[in-house]
Symmetry: C3
Subunit: 345 residues, 3 copies
């Protein structure tokens, strides 16, 4: 249950080098490679000659050459040439709209005519020298909506991440959820607390005192099909919190791009964009390392939750106020899928 007429992150840009990359997205086995001039192409990972995966081949002068018998494939899914063969009658494979942007490769698994690169979500940190970004990817055996639920309800930090970023104040402070069009936002504001270690470090890095009370925020932004950007930060207490002037606060964005591999598994692209100490590569690496460990703590619970839900398919889950973000996001997704189905019918 996922929309097909939507942009999904297929991979990090650096995952495609001179070799093609095979990856299943939304139940479609795809091959990604860099064609002429380095532009990324996406095709069905299926050679029209004998069905071998094209991703086992290699790229020669911008053409994808099948690793089995040398068929040369074009970026449009049409065979260009094959040794000793006339290829005019060869069936084409499907090609998919694909765009490299923000350090990721975005693919549109649905109807190509509807793919508008302008609708690729904005990443406010890219191309800005005062921002730094680090991240990675996990393969997780769960429905992509379970990961969206997870990220739209950060009370889980108190339990799943009890030894790292979790703290009781998150759990004790109510959140509010707002849906506007297809976007859903869940916000939590925690005022007058002691900054946790990560934010003390950030305050110092920005020339702010780390021994004063702070106002803290977590603002989770869902946009379909599977993007959750979470604004997180602290301001010196009483300066306006989230709305404080830039000199009084420090912040970053937790980045989550969730791509269904199948109905029960995902490619989970996670990262953090920060606008403090942007030039400090060692800090970027340290944050990435820390985040990779913390985000790995979610994997077992999500995969076991997935199996439980499959084993008890008749059970209705609770929808509490803390679940409002995930519940609203699911409504958006259901609406989009229903619209697509109606369009096809």
């Amino acid at each position: 249950m996922f929309p097909l007429n939507a942009w999904y992150v297929a991979c990090m840009a650096h995952e495609i080098d001179e070799r093609p990359l095979g990856r299943k997205v939304c139940d479609l086995a795809l091959v990604f490679y860099r064609g002429a001039g380095g532009a990324v192409a996406a095709l069905e990972d299926f050679c029209p000659h004998r069905g071998a995966p094209l991703s086992l081949g290699r790229v020669v002068e911008g053409k994808l050459v099948c690793g089995y018998h040398g068929l040369e494939m074009g970026c449009d899914g049409k065979t260009i040439a094959m040794p000793g063969q006339r290829v005019r009658g060869f069936p084409a494979v499907r090609s998919f709209p694909v765009v490299e942007r923000h350090g990721f490769v975005w693919v549109w698994p649905g109807e190509a005519a509807l793919a508008d690169p302008a609708t690729i979500p904005d990443c406010p940190w890219t191309g800005k020298p005062d921002w730094a970004y680090g991240g990675g990817m996990y393969h997780v055996g769960c429905d992509y909506r379970l990961m969206i639920d997870n990220l739209m309800d950060l009370t889980h930090e108190t339990y799943v991440h009890a030894n790292s970023i979790g703290q009781k104040e998150i759990d004790q402070t109510p959140s509010t959820t707002q849906a506007v069009g297809d976007a859903v936002t869940t916000s939590r504001f925690i005022d007058g607390i002691e900054a946790p270690p990560f934010w003390k470090m950030a305050l110092r890095g920005n020339g702010l005192p780390d021994d004063q009370r702070v106002d803290r925020w977590q603002v989770c932004h869902f946009t379909p099909p599977g993007q959750v950007l979470i604004e997180v930060g602290v301001a010196l207490a009483g300066r306006g919190g989230y709305a404080a002037d830039a000199p009084s606060k420090v912040s970053s964005i937790v980045v989550d791009f969730i791509t269904p591999e199948t109905g029960q598994s995902i490619w989970y692209f996670w990262g953090m964009a920060r606008n403090f100490k942007a030039g400090d590569a060692a800090l970027t690496a340290a944050i990435r390392e820390g985040q990779s460990k913390i985000f790995a703590e979610d994997l077992e619970i999500l995969e076991r939750q997935q199996r439980n839900l499959q084993d008890w398919p008749q059970r209705e889950l609770l929808k509490l106020n803390i679940d409002a973000g995930g519940v609203q996001a699911r409504r958006v997704l259901e609406r989009l899928v229903a619209r697509e189905r109606a369009g096809r019918a």
Copy 2:
């Protein structure tokens, strides 16, 4: 095909410490933990909030706290509390009768009202200072009845355990089988043979000569759903064998508690209780180690037999006289299952 209104061993008592234990029993995913005062509780391993396994949580002041969002579960399957939520309307999960006894945790996966702790099988060695017990557990990929068959026909020792406890005399001596009510007993008495090494050691330990002929016995007691206790021992020849006076013999009990995980897999609890050299902890450890190796020899044959039976479902197996114990035990089980089904219908 197993009765549900019956006591099964879920785990060894020491398997549940301060952390909960997730284990599937009779196709039910369960969580076991120690609630208030250390009493063991058993619930469905499913949090009513979002379906996460409760066994990934932890126990805080006798309450099982879900590891995902902090729901606090009571031993009766009703939610006690959850941060920031009113829990009155929360659906309960199923709780199961559970009793800690004889060093094991016993669970009743069926109708709770029928669970009578008095029907937990007696373990004649527990609480007796002149007896010692050691044992362990194996997970085996076979129908639990194949393990019962195995234990009710010890001629397999001659072949499966040819290099350890097997000997030709077992195979050459007929057994007799008796069913009384739901209990089935298969007995074999082998008179006037040389004692094998294990029993020579036991004779010496009890102050008896080890160089005389002995009468040996193996008496397998099946009681449903999956208990097989095997009395084994030797007496100096001509003193009455199994019925000899205590000073003329030495004996022990091979303990087998078999719990279906699914229809094709089991938790197999094995051990040995002995009433000689009971204070010798090193001997207990050595026997346990030896038994673990010998009983591991059955696993491949049982798992491969299981797969063969699945691959040839139409084949009728032979029921020879040596199979009488298993055949009678299966009849008891069929009767119990039929009675349960009739009760539900």
Copy 3:
């Protein structure tokens, strides 16, 4: 989709020693062992007593003894004896025609009455002192016909084996295919090229110059159900190529016996027979080692091709001129299977 009334290689002769060998052939779980006098027997791998695999037993005085309870099985699938039992009424298991020849064990999974050992394919190198043979086996997760396709179209060498035996001339030279009865032959003749390293070595070994142009050939012979013998060699240019007199050329035979395990997996027996330096055991070992690495390069592509074809079952593959060998071989196989089905109906 494979014929059953046909000889298949079950194993290399040395795979059956004093212990029996369990192996599935054409979806039949079989046990192979050496009975009286060392003659190989093949039975269903299923003990009629309790269904244990007979292959876990052992051979005692030419009888296969079940490793579970000691049933003694004869080469005809009838029980000979069992301790303490009358076996007259025991059901028999199926036995299969089996012949040891050419260093392999051949089994006939179909109707026994039709099995004629005279139809076991000839291996022109066996028993000839001027020939040497080395080989091995791979288990591959693909339909056996994908491996036949692979071997009947050697243009794949240019891509799959680009770093070893592949060369552009193979790809650039057309092949011709001929079907005569049930045999299919695909031939390629490449004239006036430089000999690749393997053939330079062979030329020197036969006392021929290695610095002259050569004519090279690859002649693939398919016979059903799964044999592909490939004549390969070079002659000094202009001496008649394949038809040149023996002193002007050097050649060998690539041996491929393909046995379906299931519809999606095979036992692949590969090897090389050569008639130069036949007494050089170190060379035999070196060629075997090199061939094992090269032939392993096909495994990933075949297994991934298999999965692709299962995922896109509705897709028609192309049948190009280079595919003619595989296409014709499949026609032969379809004809044989259709004939068997008609015979049974």
